[in-house]
Amino acid sequence: MPAYTVPVPRYWRRIGTYYRLEASRCRNCGRVYYPPRMRCVCGCKDMEKIRLLGGKFQLIDFTVLHSVSEDFEKQKPIFVGIVEESSTNVRIITQIVDVADVSDLEKSREVEPVFRVVKRDGNVGIICYGTKFRPKIVG
């Protein structure tokens, strides 16, 4: 196995989307895309960058994934969920964390973005971060 697998530029160029959930919004029809797109389904190429990070998110559904891929062995099982940002209707498939009890997810359908380590790339590679979601803490 190589000592590291993630080339730094491949990670660095995603910092905006990974850390701030930068999406693209069509200036013609208002559709929003995450991951960002260069061209909208309406045909318009005039896309502006917006941040989903401050938005309000609902959990649509989730699954508990036990058979994880190798980067996530130490975290298993992981919760994989679909969340929807309410003002744009953008849906993201993502990791849900800080779940004390599965029933929390059934009850607490509102979730919030949280900045977390995603994986550590071997012994000499970089530590990769990203935005995950957790059941919203009230109060």
Partner: protein
């Protein structure tokens, strides 16, 4: 446009072929199929493989396979469309023969995955999702299939046991298939007591990743032994993430082939069932079952061998193994065997349909074969 015939085919039972690399797997089925075609002369080799570079660190894999059989001057190419590479390669070969670009082409469908330990295999298979935005956060194909399953169960008020009946049926069918890797009967109880892959999907309800290879030779002229025409081949795509679709429990790509059923009247089907939900949604997408009713139809045995319409008499990918880019090759070879009533005798049928599905419904290829007397 010319007619396209199946000249010959060959397949090896999928398994953990630790003693064979891609060249040995692909070389063996190519050799067998060419010998059965009556000649080593072939105008083109098309290799369907999703993983030759990832698992074997080999680009130009199709050239290496040709070298292994000393086909030193035969043009070749590799086709990759994830786990629907086989259908895409067959379609490409079909177009080559149909348009007159070549007369005889061998399509090899081969992949190796069993060399990898399970967590590494899970990672490689997660490349079927969006690597930058989905796999990066640990999302896998199984997790997305689990979300599809949950949505379907909730919408139509099914229990997981109802969904898992697909697997039970596949194991029943596989008992008659000499090329099925899994031929032992299983019960819903066996499935429910196996470990959870991604809630609610359990291990015994998934197609096991295995190494496999098959070969189908297409030609503008029929062979002496049988006459099977590849009558239609097409691809439909849905280039969007699962979560952005209006309903996540539908196979939109396959729905676009629904009118083929009335046009060609196939009565034999081999559908992609890498997860049970794909088999169920495939039945509904193609109009073989009403939306929301497939699990009941399956349990009643409506698609068992001997029925008017027979689906996955082979035991499907569930029992033949999930051979990634090679999946469609197995479904195709079995459909040909069923049409010929060769080893897989499921009754008299003359038209059959095969489909494979790439990733979470990003693409599907449909092939329609007709046996001529």
């Amino acid at each position: 446009m010319r007619k396209v015939y199946v000249l010959s085919y060959s397949l090896m039972t999928a398994g953990r072929h630790y003693d064979k690399g891609l060249r040995e797997l692909a070389g063996k089925v190519l050799l067998d199929a060419l010998e059965r075609s009556g000649s080593y002369d072939v105008d083109m080799i098309v290799l369907a493989s999703a993983l030759s570079d990832v698992v074997e660190e080999q680009l130009l894999a199709s050239s290496i396979v040709c070298e292994y059989l000393s086909l030193e001057n035969v043009p070749n190419i590799r086709v990759e469309l994830g786990d629907a590479s086989s259908g895409a390669a067959l379609r490409y070969a079909y177009e080559l023969v149909r348009t007159g670009a070549v007369d005889k082409v061998a399509v090899i469908c081969a992949d190796k995955i069993a060399d990898l330990v399970s967590t590494r295999a899970n990672k490689v298979l997660s490349y079927l999702c969006d690597s930058t935005y989905e796999s990066y956060l640990g999302v896998t194909q199984a997790a997305q299939a689990a979300l599809m399953t949950r949505a379907y169960m909730r919408r139509f008020d099914y229990r997981y046991e109802d969904i898992a009946m697909w697997s039970v049926k596949m194991h029943e069918h596989a008992q008659n298939n000499p090329h099925a890797a899994m031929r032992r009967k299983i019960s819903v109880k066996d499935i429910m007591s196996s470990e959870v892959v991604s809630d609610p999907i359990r291990l015994f309800d998934t197609a096991v990743p295995l190494d496999g290879a098959s070969c189908i030779v297409l030609s503008s002229e029929p062979g002496r032994e049988f006459k099977i025409v590849l009558e239609y081949s097409s691809t439909a795509c849905c280039n969007a993430s699962l979560c952005m679709r209006p309903e996540i429990d539908r196979l939109y790509t396959l729905e676009r082939f629904r009118d083929l059923a009335s046009k060609f009247s196939p009565t034999l089907f081999e559908l992609c069932d890498k997860f049970s939900i794909f088999g169920i949604l495939g039945l509904e997408a193609l109009g073989l079952s009403e939306r929301g009713k497939a699990p009941r139809a399956i349990a009643e045995g409506m698609f068992d061998p001997g029925s008017k319409v027979v689906v996955n008499a082979s035991g499907g990918l569930k029992c033949m193994g999930y051979t990634v880019g090679a999946c469609g090759g197995y479904l195709t070879c079995c459909l040909i065997m069923e049409l010929l009533q060769d080893k897989l005798n499921v009754g008299e049928h003359s038209v059959g349909l095969v489909c494979d599905v790439a990733g979470i419904d990003r693409a599907s290829n449909v092939l329609i074969f007709r046996r001529e007397s």
